[in-house]
Subunit: 339 residues, 2 copies
């Protein structure tokens, strides 16, 4: 069982892979004969080609949602919002996980871009994936528009993104702790190279500065967004003297890990230490005490990304390459006032 | 913005919808001229056709995962397992939610079968959806094979299904409570018409009977798999005298609702009442006390459904129309011994 990779087509037509790619991308530096051979091979393989730049309003259009993984609440919420918007827009949704070739257990290892192009996708939404300049270039060359949800780093100016107001969310969370009387507020956030980590640190710092408080460098720690790293970073923070009275932990999963570290140190949330999370995944409601957290509108972000993508597919001009949807602070039971 | 429904194609070719359908299905009671007109209209609309009965091993093949919803841990786990298996098998995955036409907010209301056929899907996996005989008939006519995950009712003998060992899982959960000394064990399960509810009730009854215990009719209650209904059914059970000492609640979400009802009655889990759930969603680990539950291998069910579907797409004979993957009891902190 094989699929028509560009390599197959090239072999069949007796040309190089880059020649096939040129034909697919409508380049004109290919001889007429060569083009005919490639076209014939493509037809024989039922290769679904991208149309021209003008959108074909009548064809079945499928867009790709490519994410770093499908497990868990984050992808489920994004996919759910995106699928509902796609249904409204009359486009179909293909999903896949972005894998590195190295992780494949068979010989058919393919880049997600290969698969998107192979399928003749009308557009791509990326979730928690950092597209390389090469990948973006190949999409652009094939005229497949792309929208990035929650970009890990600043995308090029011509790549659209939908995110959330990370700075404002972090500012509001920190201010909530300040208003409850906390001053020794430490921060656990994600890897420093991530765009949204930087925005959240900045929001926290701004709120602290507005309250006239200094932030010691040791009060800011970086985890990797998972439960274990949350526990590890919080353990380190609990060893500081004087101990922080409140923690702003920039992911619900890390905050749940933080709960474990706090319990492990014989302390209680919120009596001994207050905690605010970030995301508002369903888990935030299940834990005890229920977690006060900054809600990211994940469904709405999925829906907004899809609608932006459809506008690009239709050749519309967009006002702004960046959309940030508002966060909201969800107050539950993990913050106590500090007298 | 419209899409090429069969009606569009029919109008363009000047024939009836059923004629288009005949051409698409390779029927030979269509004249050569009519066929040519339909073929031309299909080509102009870039209509992606199903191949012949013999699978076309070289084309890009997309399968559909259609579920009752995409939100939450159940769909995420199933989709994750299915997508990984699809990647290995070299097929693409389209996802959608099965909507009733009535729920659509625009005029493009479509049955999921319409969309599957429109896309030229090579096969369909259904999750928590009850296909109607009409829907199954249309898929069969278009030669689109179908696999049902966790069927709500007994599917027709020619429809493949992948489920879990509901009877054995319920038997094991009940036995676990019996071995810890419980005798007054009540059951909360799903709607009585669901196949897996019936299997779980039967497993519970068998374990009780094997221990020589009678089951009062009032000890078996039916919820709707959500948190609120779990709380409601447990409240009713807590009013019984003598009160049950243990509850087997056949969904983690209902069990979490049960926790709330138990706390609301001033009782503690597991000191006053023991609880066993069913599913092993991530939520079961977040709640306090962590929930002892019956694990459904959801990822494996997604993977198995995909592999079964690919075998059907390849025209292979299957040994059995039913596959049940084993459950496992995951012991955590919600069961206490009863002296």
């Amino acid at each position: 069982m094989t699929r028509p990779t560009l390599a197959h087509i090239a072999e069949m037509a007796g040309v190089s892979v880059s020649t096939v790619s040129k034909v697919l991308n409508g380049r004109d530096d290919v001889s007429r004969d060569t083009r005919a051979k490639v076209d014939s091979a493509l037809r024989q393989h039922h290769y679904v080609r991208r149309g021209t730049a003008a959108p074909d309003a009548t064809a079945v259009r499928t867009v790709d949602l490519v994410m770093s993984g499908l497990d868990g609440s984050w992808p489920a919420s994004v996919a759910s919002g995106l699928e509902a918007a796609a249904y409204e827009a009359g486009v179909h949704v293909a999903i896949s996980v972005a894998r590195s070739s190295a992780s494949a257990t068979n010989h058919r290892a393919q880049d997600w871009v290969d698969r998107v192009l192979e399928r003749g996708s009308a557009g791509v939404v990326l979730g928690l994936i950092e597209p390389t300049p090469d990948q973006l270039g190949r999409l652009a060359q094939a005229r497949v528009p792309c929208v990035v949800i929650d970009p890990l780093s600043d995308p090029p100016p011509d790549v659209m993104s939908v995110g959330t107001t990370n700075w404002a969310g972090a500012y509001e969370a920190t201010q909530h702790l300040l208003q409850r009387g906390h001053q020794r507020i430490a921060l656990v956030t994600g890897p420093p190279e991530h765009l949204y980590s930087r925005a959240r640190i900045a929001g926290y710092r701004s709120a602290m500065a507005a309250a006239g408080l200094e932030v010691a460098p040791e009060s800011v720690r970086h985890g990797t967004y998972d439960r274990a790293s949350g526990a590890e970073q919080v353990r380190a923070l609990l060893e500081r003297r004087p101990r922080p009275t409140a923690l702003f932990i920039c992911s619900d999963h890390m905050a749940i890990g933080g709960y474990e570290a706090i319990a492990g140190a014989g302390l209680r949330v919120p009596e001994d230490i207050s905690v605010v999370g970030f995301d508002d995944l369903p888990e935030a409601r299940w834990v005890a005490p229920a977690l006060t957290t900054v809600r990211q509108p994940l469904k709405e972000m999925g829906g907004s990304a899809l609608r932006t993508l459809v506008r690009l597919m239709n050749g519309e001009e967009l006002e702004s390459p960046r959309v940030e949807l508002a966060t909201t602070l969800v107050v539950r039971d993990s913050v106590a006032p500090r007298g």
